[in-house]
Symmetry: C2
Subunit: 274 residues, 2 copies
Amino acid sequence: MTPVERAQMAMVLEVTAYPKPGNVDRCHDYEGTRLEHFLASAVLARPALEKAAAEGCGAGIGEVLREAVRLTTTHRGGNTHFGAFILLVPLLRGGNIEGAARAVRDTTVEDAIQFYRAFSLVKVRMLPSDPLDVSDPKALDHIREKGMTLLDVMDHSKGHDMVAREWVNGFARTRGAADHLRASGCGREGVVAAFLRLLSEEIDTFIVKEHGPLVAEEVRRRAGEVLAGREDLAAFDAECIARGINPGSTADLIIAGIYIALGEGWEWDCSRKG
Amino acid sequence: MTPVERAQMAMVLEVTAYPKPGNVDRCHDYEGTRLEHFLASAVLARPALEKAAAEGCGAGIGEVLREAVRLTTTHRGGNTHFGAFILLVPLLRGGNIEGAARAVRDTTVEDAIQFYRAFSLVKVRMLPSDPLDVSDPKALDHIREKGMTLLDVMDHSKGHDMVAREWVNGFARTRGAADHLRASGCGREGVVAAFLRLLSEEIDTFIVKEHGPLVAEEVRRRAGEVLAGREDLAAFDAECIARGINPGSTADLIIAGIYIALGEGWEWDCSRKG
């Protein structure tokens, strides 16, 4: 499997794994965003993923992110893999976690500008009154004036966005997700177990943005209860779906973790061991 | 969407559409073959699909088929898209139905030999006491002696294999599947409706091989009852799954039909019309 195929498989395996509390999965759609949108995104992102993986390629990380978003917003399913691309593009560029940490340090002001242009293609919620709010046309001026690289932008967002945080902490949660996968075992069941572990360890910042920190903390705590066998996973999933609680950033981290784990011998196909 | 992406999307949309009587779908796996195997096959077949679509490419249709099967049997999910590739490869080579009909007429003895080598990578059931039985090592001698092209091989199989029949009838059922899709409307619901119509019109030869002609005729008739509102689709699906009745050749034709329909403006994403 090539690195690009690993990235596509990671997107496919994450979205089909079930039951995952609150997210689109094999058995659940959201009103506007269906399983097919995520699978289409995995197929249609390929040219951008190829550019991300190309050595000595002219396209910067910001430009590749913008292309990935452009290719995958041709449908009206809304944002599917924006957060995942923020992790996968440097991972593909760098080859592994250490290489990705180097790749993000090499980003430029131009990468930051391209990233903001990608943002404008999707509706991703930012915090109010943030000088880097994508809906504020002055944000680009601010970036240019301050000479902020894309790594600087992620550093600015690290407090309220666990995906951005990966860029400044050496992809620590991506590493954790891959380790959880390898410890949890092969295939779909391994993905679900790793997802629950990740969710139980840290509040999901996508839930914080949508529902506030108290709900995010409730989900974190109850994911641990599921793991401890004190709460039923299917019922928790159904409740999250009903309340519109969607741990989208944890899903992004799991995708990055699957990408890494596949490269380290984790088996997506349990039947291969038979 | 490029032709290769259309082919990948066709594989993804067919397998996720539900409920389809008897087949692997979003909500059903078979013991050894799971949804993920079909989705992996759609991702991993890409290099072969690219070769199929390449103009003036050196690789013949038989060689491309063999590569597609090789790339998609790295897992142990068994045969996933062998029949679909038999249709998609000439459709990609020819660009559309008329081009595919020309492409199959240009196949050679070498294509037939490569096809038999592809066969040996998967367990596809043949009729007993057939001189072209893939499990008989003399089959290749027979092909060479008689100077049979791959089109001749398909002509030989047309009586008992509706996928092979497409090669000799100008892809008539592929055309029908695309027309059913366009008449049935967009998205997942359109795929299910087209699948039922196709299944109601002709007995599925994969069911014939697995369960005999009486069961295949029963399924054909009852698909019509579902369409007429006289039988419940979910119950029919559950019964087919329980009896191991899998209309696999109809699924192959639907994939080819989606490929064509996507090129003719059929919408896989109903939300685009919103």
